[in-house]
Structures are given as structure tokens and as C-alpha cells.
């Protein structure tokens, strides 16, 4: 009962606090929304692009060209030997007939049909796992070169290197943007709390005078911080949804021009509600700490 009573009082005081400086509160909500929108758009785009990225050959590929006289049994043995190696995700056998057919289709050359035999070798395409570091790819290439029945080995380690660098850059950028947004949100809540504390100095003094404990004093400010970030998150979600909806058609058209399909969409509503709840807790905690810090001078 007592716990309910003090929380009900804190809610009423929070409302009074926000009514006292509605402009500051709204500004804090809009600033929080602005800080939230950038990572939210990033997360939405990343989630929308996930199916496309999954189709990309992210793991490094090594092509083993076998000597022409290699029998089917030998190729199968080699294929299972490779598949058993550590770090190998997949081994695909492209038969020489399939390779010739594909080449004919790709080049549209009728001259290939005039060849007496098939000059192409059987190929084993070894896909390593995505996490394989470039140095290990090169070691593996050297080892595979020494295998029996292998005539030559080709590996596009440059692509893998570029992809890893790109992923690293994307991770660093996402971390920086996320970190910057987090710092901004903390600063917004702290600045908002300081303003509210300043405008409530008389109230806080009166509370201290009548023996209110720190938690009782802090609670309305913490609730205001929670509300600021929760509303900021919801506003950011609304802005993100509107922006992505407006850009979805153009993004899909662009993807289609490259022969891909891309459906740009906002994060699911239940995720956003969960995010708003988490933001409310974080906002409340930051505001509580900020208020305690501001009250330290009054014992």
C-alpha cells in the first residue's frame, strides 16, 4: 500500500514537473527521437538486407582443377577428403560436362559444339567458413595444391579480404553510430534532469525539510527520464517507419535493376515496443543517477 502510494504520488509529481516546463520536455523527446532515428534506420536497413547478404558467397572459395584422367571414384574420394577438413563449409563438384554446358550457355558460342572432345577439367569448388582469416586461406591453398590428382588451384582471396574489410568497417561504423547515439541519449536525459531540478529547487528543498528520503525525491525525475526516452523511441520508430515506407519503392526498383529483390521495411512493431520499454528503464536509471548526483550537495 505504502509502495503504491509513493509511486502514485511520484507520477502526479512527474506530471506537475512536465507541466512546469512542457517546452523543455518536448524538446528532450524530439532530441532523443533524433538520436534514436539514425541507429533505428540502420538496424531496419540491415534487417531488410539480411536475405540479400545471406545469398552472397561470404566464405572464401578455392577451385581445384583436376587432371583430365581422374576417375569418378577418385573425384568422390577427394571430395569426401576435402569435406572432412577443418574449416571447410562445403565442397561442390562441377563435372567437366556441366562446365562445358555452362560455358556454351554463357558465351553463346556454337563453335564449342565442333570440338572433338571436352577440354575442360572436373572442378571441385571448396568453400571455407566465413570466419577463415586470409592467412589461413593462403595456407589451405598451398596444402590443396599438393594433393594428388590436382592439376592447379585458383583462389580469389582478394574478394574475401575485401569482404572482411567491408564487414569490419560496417561493424565499426555501426558501433560508432550506436555509441554516439547512446552518449547523446545520456546527455539529453541528464540535461533534461538538470533543468527540471533547477526549476524544482523549492520543491526539493521543501521535501528535504519534511524528511523525504532520497528515493522519494528522485522518483518523479526518474519517471520523467523514463517517459522522455520511451516517447523518444516511439517517435523515432514513427519517423523511421515513415522514411522507410517512402523509400521502399525506390529501393526495390534499384535492387531490381541489379537483378535482386529487396524489401525495405521497418522493424516489427513488437520489437519497437520492447525497445521502448528497455529505453524507459534506461532513461529512468540515467535520470535517477543524474538526480542523485544533483542532490549530493543537500544532505
Amino acid at each position: 500500500m505504502k509502495a503504491l502510494a509513493v509511486r502514485a504520488h511520484a507520477l502526479r509529481e512527474m506530471a506537475r514537473l512536465l507541466r512546469r516546463r512542457p517546452g523543455s520536455f518536448l524538446l528532450a523527446v524530439v532530441l532523443a527521437a533524433a538520436a534514436f532515428t539514425v541507429p533505428l534506420v540502420g538496424a531496419s536497413v540491415a534487417r531488410s538486407a539480411a536475405p540479400l547478404v545471406q545469398q552472397l558467397p561470404l566464405g572464401p572459395e578455392i577451385n581445384l582443377f583436376l587432371v583430365a584422367s581422374t576417375s569418378t571414384t577418385e573425384i568422390r574420394q577427394l571430395q569426401s577428403l576435402l569435406a572432412g577438413r577443418a574449416g571447410v563449409a562445403q565442397v561442390e563438384w562441377i563435372t567437366r560436362d556441366a562446365a562445358l554446358k555452362a560455358l556454351a550457355q554463357r558465351t553463346g558460342s556454337s563453335g564449342l559444339a565442333d570440338l572433338k572432345g571436352n577440354p575442360l577439367p572436373d572442378v571441385l569448388v571448396v568453400t571455407l567458413s566465413t570466419e577463415t582469416p586470409p592467412a589461413e586461406v593462403e595456407t589451405t591453398v598451398a596444402e590443396l595444391r599438393r594433393l594428388p590428382r590436382v592439376e592447379s588451384v585458383a583462389a580469389d582471396t582478394g574478394w574475401h579480404r575485401q569482404l572482411r574489410a567491408l564487414l569490419r568497417a560496417a561493424t565499426v561504423t555501426a558501433t560508432l553510430v550506436g555509441g554516439l547515439a547512446a552518449v547523446l541519449l545520456v546527455l539529453i536525459v541528464l540535461a533534461s534532469v538538470q533543468l527540471q531540478l533547477t526549476s524544482s529547487a523549492e520543491y526539493v528543498r521543501a521535501l528535504r525539510l519534511v524528511g523525504a528520503d532520497t528515493r522519494f525525491v528522485v522518483r518523479p525525475f526518474a519517471y520523467a527520464g523514463a517517459l522522455t526516452l520511451a516517447l523518444g523511441t516511439l517517435l523515432a520508430a514513427g519517423l523511421t517507419w515513415a522514411g522507410l515506407t517512402a523509400a521502399a519503392a525506390q529501393a526495390a526498383e534499384l535492387a531490381q535493376a541489379y537483378g535482386a529483390s529487396f524489401n525495405l521495411q521497418a522493424l516489427p512493431p513488437q520489437w519497437l515496443v520492447l525497445l521502448a520499454v528497455v529505453a524507459a528503464f534506461v532513461g529512468g536509471a540515467i535520470a535517477a543517477l543524474g538526480t542523485r548526483w544533483g542532490l549530493r550537495r543537500t544532505r
Binding site: K2, V6, R205, A206, G211, T214, F216
Partner: protein, 227 residues
């Protein structure tokens, strides 16, 4: 604060208290006095003599440099936040500048200590109305503090101080800006609270007349308290 404890311990106790600010001449020097349950003590002294300092030592806003200040056996200076707040809720305090909140009604002001004590709004309002009635402001709950006279504002602050039914009541310069009639009403109220069992300590730069017959006079001069 148990009844047995309260019966044997003075509610306010200063034992050879010393307090100075920034190495200057001590405001309080070996100051000792006690106020028992049901006593009305008036601490007089010139401006800057240390009366408000004495009250702040009792409420724990200040800590003594030396000696002991205790309220019902508890030393405010040694208490941490929650315990100190609980002790302050057991002390009714009317500061010189009253600290009535201008943006809420008299009733809301008087309710504040009860709300801080965890009472529901309804229960706090009931207590506040009862406190306002005791100080003769039963009909003024809906007013804003600025709408009251200086004497009525003092009584509103007094109602706020007694709303949690404290054992100790501290009043700082309550008659400083009141005319004789309003001062008399206020002093009668303080006497009434003392007779009801509270330990009342009033700080005043001069001796307000007419002081109730039961009042004990404590004089603060050059840091020492004499009776």
C-alpha cells in the same frame, strides 16, 4: 523512538557542542542543554549568535565539530540518508523562510510530509485537514500560500510541521514578522503543542512578549547556552 526510550531520554540533547565555520570564532562553544517531552524552550540570542545553527544541528543539516547532539538518543550527524530522513520526519520544523510552495494550495503544502511518509493521498489529506484545524486554518486549505497573511502563513507552516505528529517541534524566528496579536496566537499554539507532549524548541532573536508561563528561557551568547 519507543515510549520507554522517550520517557528516559531527553528528546533534544546538546552536550558540550562546538561548531565553527571556516576556522572562525566558534558559533557554538561547549554548548549544552536538553529539552524534555512536554517542554517549551525558547532559545534567544542576537542575530548570528548561532540559534539557526543549533536547529540545523538537530535536524542533521549540519554536523557538530565536537560534542554530541542527539534527538531521542539518535545522533543525526551519524545517520545515513534513509535513517536521517526518518528522523527528520519525526521532527516538525518551521524554518524562518517557511518554504511553503507557492504553486500549490495550503492543503497540498501541509500534506507533503504525510505523503513523504508513505501515506495515500486520501489519508494525507485527512491528516492535513486535521492539522489545519488545529492551527485555525480549517477553511483555508484551498487557498494558495500567497493569499494568506504573514501570521496565517506561519500557522500553515506550523500545520505542515505537525502533520506527521512529531515528538519534537523546532520553530525558527516565528514571530519576527508578525504583529503582536498574530504572535500571541502563534505562541499559544506552540504552548498547546508542548502541553500535548511535544518537545518544542523555538529560536528567537529577542524574547517575544508575552511568552507563555511554561516557557523555559535559554540564552545563547558567545557560543554558550545558559538558562
Amino acid at each position: 523512538m519507543t515510549e520507554a526510550h522517550a520517557a528516559t531520554t531527553p528528546l533534544i540533547e546538546f552536550d558540550r557542542v562546538r561548531k565553527s565555520f571556516g576556522g572562525a570564532q566558534p558559533v557554538l562553544n561547549e554548548a549544552s542543554f536538553t529539552v524534555e517531552r512536554g517542554q517549551f524552550a525558547v532559545l534567544t540570542g542576537a542575530n548570528g549568535a548561532g540559534k539557526s545553527t543549533a536547529l540545523k544541528l538537530i535536524t542533521g543539516w549540519l554536523a557538530p565539530d565536537d560534542g554530541r547532539v542527539a534527538v531521542a538518543g539518535e545522533e543525526p550527524a551519524r545517520l545515513r540518508d534513509a535513517a536521517l530522513s526518518a528522523l527528520r520526519r519525526a521532527i516538525g520544523m518551521v524554518p524562518q523562510d517557511l518554504h511553503l510552495l507557492a504553486d500549490r494550495s495550503v492543503l497540498d503544502n501541509v500534506m507533503l510530509p504525510a505523503l513523504a511518509d508513505g501515506l495515500s493521498r486520501k489519508a494525507a489529506a485527512e491528516r492535513a485537514r486535521s492539522a489545519l484545524q488545529r492551527v485555525g486554518l480549517a477553511d483555508d486549505g484551498a487557498e494558495m500560500p500567497a493569499q494568506l497573511s504573514a501570521g496565517a502563513q506561519q500557522r500553515a507552516a506550523l500545520a505542515r510541521a505537525i502533520v506527521n505528529r512529531p515528538a519534537v517541534l523546532l520553530v525558527d524566528e516565528p514571530t519576527a514578522f508578525l504583529d503582536a496579536a498574530a504572535a500571541t496566537v502563534l505562541l499559544q499554539l506552540l504552548e498547546e503543542f508542548a502541553r500535548a507532549g511535544m518537545a518544542v524548541l523555538m529560536a528567537s532573536h529577542g524574547e517575544p512578549a508575552p511568552l507563555p508561563s511554561m516557557a523555559r528561557r535559554l540564552r545563547l551568547a558567545e557560543g554558550r547556552i545558559s538558562e
